[in-house]
Subunit: 182 residues, 2 copies
Amino acid sequence: MTYEVEMKFPVADMGVLESRLAAMGATIDGPRQEVDVYFAHPARDFSRTDEAIRIRRKGQANFITYKGPKIDAATKTRREIDLPLPPGEEAAQAWTGLLEALGFTVAGEVRKTRRKAHVEWQGRRVEASLDEVDRLGSFAELELVVEPAELDAARTCVMSLAAALGLDHGERRSYLELLHPQ
Amino acid sequence: MTYEVEMKFPVADMGVLESRLAAMGATIDGPRQEVDVYFAHPARDFSRTDEAIRIRRKGQANFITYKGPKIDAATKTRREIDLPLPPGEEAAQAWTGLLEALGFTVAGEVRKTRRKAHVEWQGRRVEASLDEVDRLGSFAELELVVEPAELDAARTCVMSLAAALGLDHGERRSYLELLHPQ
């Protein structure tokens, strides 16, 4: 079972952040459009249980992702199950149909342009995502995916990198929650 | 949206059935082991709603299948969503983990050896499955997958083929229901 250790921050000036990442030796990938469709569970109120299930379209690639409840107060650390689906629009629709047949309903959609970078920090390779989120603005996410035994070290690493990049006012709410406040 | 039109029959003498299929020009494939794991829904009692969700392992190949309620009294006609998963034991376990995280629980397992044949009948290609089901015995299934507009013609076709093959005492219960009577 793997966990994602993640922190998210609003970004006032993306150019400054890009410069700091470049100074750390990170290469920033080109932009990719991501469309996430989130689903409500047939029996659980995910806004209370702090879980999520979504289908992500990234170009032609599709993924299904479950996120468990956040397990600490400072970061967005949580269990994550991220599985590839067959590619293409038709497959994404078929999978949406399967979830709907099981009683899941579409809860909302998040569209963003994401640029990824990877930073070597404290002996780990941290994934940084520079996001321009439709109707929300600019954000940066820092993420490690680790086994439970590494959770504390991963949190320390991500928080230390955030400080070095000048990121603060960590945002624990998801983009979906920011777009659709309860 | 596609439906499966299916009839299932107990088979007293598989050799006789094989001869009749051969006389119709059908070729019977070699045996394949299939392991189906069925799941209970977190909020719906599938034994009441007459639905099913399962993960099938067929050699290294994996599939996830949803079956809707049966919509007539004579056959097992029902909506079906059948989607491929990535192959291998690890993928099957990851998908089981995803369903369990969403509150689905394992309801039972059906293991069988299946030999498939295809029969041209009334202008359609009917799939026949010759099954040796662990702890249940020998069965034959006849199946067409069709769009809603073709449902009546498909039912007529399958029932006619069953009669021509000498199959009777149609069994509408699933193997899971036969193994785990409510």
